[in-house]
Structures are given as C-alpha cells and as structure tokens.
Assembly symmetry: C2
Homo-oligomer: 344 residues x 2
DNA sequence: GATTAGCACTCTCCGACCGAGAGTGCTAAT
DNA sequence: ATTAGCACTCTCGGTCGGAGAGTGCTAATC
C-alpha cells in the first residue's frame, strides 16, 4: 500500500475512513479514527491528513463540524488501490451453490430471476441479471411450428442449446408445404451463421430465395429483432428493490423515487449493462459514473457469465456506500457459478 | 339515491365529501362542504349529518378538530351505491385504442406489458396485467422440437392461437424416431382436452402408452406445470410503481415500503388477481379487503379479458383514495379493447 | 520538523414553547 | 328541524437555546 499519488498514511486513513463510513453511514471524525487505529496516532494528526485528502477531492464534509465522508473519487481510489481481493466465505458459497444449482434443469429465465433474487437477498442490495446477448450465438436450427390457424411459432436454437421463440401471425392460405419449404431454406441459409447477421446480411440473402414463400420470409425478417433482443425489456430481471428502504441514503423521497423510476424504465439499465465493456471480468461503476438520471447516488458491481459463445451480465446495484470488497467477491463467484450452471 | 341504509342527505354528504377528499387528499370540514353544496345547507347542519355518518363507520376524523375522511366502509358504500356508471371521454378512448391496438400483431407478453404501461400512465396509478390462465384452454397441438443436443422444446398451442413453450433437457440417446412417436401419442391423447387435465388425469393416461418413450413422457409431465402457469411470476406485468411517489398517502416510508414489498413478491398479487372471482365484470377491492400485508391502504379495480376460452385479468392498483368512477370506466373499456385485440 | 494538546469556533440536532388556524360539539335562538 | 354563536381541542410551523460533535489553528512538545 501506498501508491503513486498517496503516501502510506493517507492510504491508511482513507481506507479506514471508508470502511467505517460504509458500516455506519455516519460522517466519521478524527476522534473515532484515532481510536479505531491500532497504531497510535492522535486526532490532530489525523485531522491534518484528512485535510490533505479533502484537498485532493477524495473526501468531504457534509457541513463544517461534521466528520468526513468519501466522495465518488474517494471510493474510486479505494476500489482501485486499497481493497484486496476477497473470497466468499464458505457458508455463503455453499448457500449460493445450493440455491442456484438446485433442482433439475430450469428455464433460463427462471434461473436468471432466481439469481437476481439470491443476489438481492445475500447482499441486501438490488440484484440485476440480464439474459444472454444472442448476437454472437451461432444458429443451430430454425423451426417453423404451425400452432393454430394463422399462427406460426418460430423457434430459433443456438449452438449452446438455448432457444428463443416468436409467435407470428401469417396469412390464412399458407399451407404446410410452403412452410416446410421455407423452413428448409431458412435452415440452409442461416444455420452456422451468427444471430447478429439476422439484423444485417440475412434479409438481403433470403429475399431472392425462390424456394421460400416470400410472405413468410417477410414476417420472419420482421420478427428477427424480437428473436435477437426479445423486446430487451423482458430480458432484464431485477430483484430486491425494497432493500433500498433499509438504506439511510434513501430515506428521503427524492433519491428513492429517482432510482425507482430508472429501474422501472428498464431500457436504460439494459443498455448500461450491455455496453459496459462486454467481456473481461468485474466492473465497478461508482456514483456519477453511472450515467443514469436519478441514480447518481448509486454504484453498480457487475460481471459477465458465459453460455458457450454468448454472454450475459449480472450485477448488484446499491448506494455508493456499499461493501465493495465483499460484493466484488460475491459477483465474481456468482457469475462463475452461473456459467457452470448454464453451460452444463 | 337514498337507499336502504342512508337517507338522501346522508348520501349527498357522503358523496360530496368523498369526491372532495379524493381530489384534495385533505380532511374535509363542514365549512367546505357547505360552500361546495349548491343547495343551501349550513355548516352546522352538515356537522350533524357527519356525526351520524361517523357513527355508522363510514367516515372518521384523523384527530379532533380536523375534517373527516372516508373509511374503507365509506368507500365501499360509495362505490356500491353512490357512483353512476361513467364512460371514458372520447379523447382518452382514442388514446387507449391507438396505443394498444397499434402496429401489427405482437407477442402476448408485449401487449400485456404495454397494457400495464398505458393503464399506469393514463391513471397515474399502478397498472397490473396478468397473462391468460391456460387452465380452461383446449389443447390444439403439441410439438416436440429438438433444439440442440439434449435440448427439446415443447410447444403447446391452444385453440385460440396462443402458445406456450418449455425447454427441456433430455437424455442424449433419444432419437428423432421416438420423439416423433411420442409427439404423435401426445397429440392423440391430449388434443381436444383442456390444459387443466395436464395436472390431473393426463399423467396417468399417458403412463401406459406403449408407443411413447416413457422417459420423454416423464419429463413432459414434469414440465406440464410450467406450461400451465409459466412459473406464475412471469405472467404478471406491473408498471407505474413510481406513480406511488406522487401520492401523498405514500409520503411516509412505512406505507410505501409495504406496498413495494408486496409488489416485488409477485405471487401474492398473482393469486389475488387469479382468485378474484374469475368471470363477470369489474371488481373493486377496497383497503383492508385487499388481503395483502403491507397493502392495507390500497384499492384494486380489476376486470377480466377473454381470449377464446381462456381469461386473463387486468387491474389498477392505487391508494384507497382513488377516482373510482373514472377508473371503473377505464378498466372496463381497456378490458374490452384487450379482448378484441387478442381475439382478432 | 513532525506530532500533539488545547482552545475557540461553527454547525447540526433536538426539545420546548407559542401563536395561528381550522374544525368540532354543544347550546340556545330561530 | 335548522342554524348562529362560542368555547374547546388539536395540529402545524416557526423560533429559541442548549448540548454535542468536530473542526482548524496555534503553541507546546518530542
């Protein structure tokens, strides 16, 4: 400890200050820190250091004569430099494993909903999960199933065994024969392609296929968006919103309603999670870094899980005053667990 | 007006009092009522009548020397006897029609989500929609679609053109042949039956069918619950929660958190809507009649929509202090609109 | 030269107090 | 039967003041 910008003592103070503030939610003064410090250092000395930290913009006082609290930047340096990786305690790991891997195979949505639920209940924050992004999936099979008069169910499977369906309405006079022909044509053209091509090259490619029924192709292409994104609202699971109530930072209505409004809109959160640098590991987004109106007081710890070629995102959303070290460990463990669970 | 229990004046006073309270959220005193009353009646007289109403338990004062507010029972008599049916104003009807019937055919879930959204935005309350209850649907077709190695998608269509799917995991060594055979057997046995029988008689019936692969039948039967209920959580759409913030009765945290907690649990609400006397028309559930812990201060106006033989529920959830007459009209209109939309 | 003790100062929080305002219930007059 | 008049009660908002917490600065100390 002690890196480029901060000397040892400053690191120490910042760290302890944040630790204490995170657990009490009260501005912390020099006196408390002096006591909490194993090494002897008087309140006055600590005050000096705190002044330095404040000038650097890492902490601030809500008002003269209150203790200090961390700023977003303070949390940032804390997360980037001052916490050491943690592992989830055995009992918690066991609980996660049991609740998640439980029972026999369930629907993906079920698992994701359950994951969000567990994350929420384990952390007392808001659990968030996002269904895998099919864009990179490789189409393994397309099936057109007539369900009833004029209703056609499109089933698209991808290599990892996931599938999505859309119910279409078609002209009444389309017969089984042309459905089968179209299905064959679709499979020939699309199997092996990535799902993303449905948006781009596929429509043109299918247009001049003379075996397929052009009307069917048209409705299929129109429905493609749904196959890829599933309305994008539906693919997000959020649980534990009511945990916000227990947190003092959301005692006032303004803050609370801001966050709930954002969550209710869904799309902003979906986009945030989708675009948060897909791939690699855990990402922590702190306070104003979360570019959502209404959620300025929040942080998000997120990671990705994999199912074959496709990836989804899970995360924990809560006030900036959160136990970052612990949550990082939990998200990491859960993401891995989820990958195993879905892969198998 | 003026029915069994209440004389004309009492009815009048109760009605005007509730109207006024609903629009202002302030306890209403005798003075205000006297002014609002077209017919001349002095505050003192009104006070006497109000005392009577209070003894009957229809209104109460929050504290001595405040005006009166309606009790749950007050609202009840108001809804049952004092409001006259209303129709939705033309512009609102137009808006509902446009936003709901818009575009081409969409997925049922989309429509329901959209409906909940519109209800919420039009009423500034919480909009709630529940997917059709498949129990009474008549199975029109069952399809087993191999999606990938060891993954089988079960598609069940019912006569109205709705469909549901479940993704199953099956043993690796099940071949196309036995899948087809099983599918044929399933269709033979189940087409024409009601979906509800999947829970009851179907399992036994299928057990000793020697054409079907017994392993497939077993997983199918296990998945039946999901086909009928779709996890029951997924079939509920709620929108407009953040509208609660604008309502003064939820200014205090206790009330707010209670309601949000209930909504988040989902199942209690699903059950409430499912069991609210399926069939016939609009039902208003007021205050403590809503048997949900945490939602004692809420009322629900709900109705059902039909898609062929199956029925779903839509509703509006808000504080007991709501514009019942208006909401009744809106729910009624929307339910009919939804039926048309889905039926077509 | 860094650390610390001491002290004056500032600011919030909380309870007490008070007056204004609103609305009631009762009684007596209409 | 209705109403005017009045004393009474209770809430709400604002002010005041003391207690407490924490600071920044200065001067003493190691």
């Amino acid at each position: 400890m002690g890196f480029d910008q901060l000397n040892d003592r400053e690191c120490q103070i910042l760290r302890v200050l944040i630790d204490h503030y995170v657990s009490t939610a009260e501005p912390v003064g020099s006196r408390v820190l002096a006591n909490r410090f194993n090494i002897g250092l008087s309140p006055a000395t600590i005050r000096n250091t705190m002044q330095d930290l404040e000038e650097m913009g890492l902490i601030r006082q809500p008002h003269t004569s209150a203790g200090r609290i961390p700023t977003d930047e303070g949390y940032r340096t804390y997360v980037d430099n001052l916490i050491e990786p943690q592992t989830v305690p055995d009992d918690l790991a066991k609980r996660l494993r049991e609740e998640l891997a439980s029972e026999h195979k369930r629907a993906v949505d079920d698992i994701l909903a359950q994951t969000a639920h567990i994350l929420a209940s384990v952390t007392s924050q808001i659990g968030v999960t996002l269904a895998p992004n099919f864009d990179n999936g490789i189409i393994s099979r397309i099936e057109l199933v007539p369900v009833a008069e004029r209703r056609l169910l499109v089933v698209m499977g991808i290599q990892t065994g996931l599938a999505r369906t859309v119910l279409l309405e078609v002209a009444a006079d389309i017969d089984e024969k042309s459905i089968e022909a179209t299905q064959r044509a679709l499979n020939e053209r699309l199997v092996g392609q990535s799902v993303g091509t449905l948006r781009t090259t596929a429509p043109a490619m299918l247009k001049d296929d003379n075996r397929a029924d052009p009307r069917l192709v048209r409705v299929f292409v129109e429905a493609a968006e749904d196959l890829i994104d599933r309305g994008s609202g539906e693919s997000l699971h959020v649980d534990g919103t009511s945990n916000l109530f227990t947190q003092p930072e959301f005692a006032d209505h303004q803050a609370l309603s801001g966050v709930l409004r954002v969550i209710e809109k869904r799309t902003p959160i979906v986009n945030l999670l989708r675009n948060r640098g897909m791939g690699e590991g855990i990402i922590v987004t702190i306070g104003r870094e979360v570019k959502l109106e209404g959620a300025e007081g929040c942080s998000i710890v997120s990671s990705t899980y994999k199912v074959g070629q496709v990836e989804g995102t899970i995360g924990i959303l809560g006030p900036t005053r959160m136990e970052y070290a612990k949550l990082l460990a939990i998200i990491d463990y859960t993401a891995k667990l989820l990958s195993e669970q879905m892969e198998a």
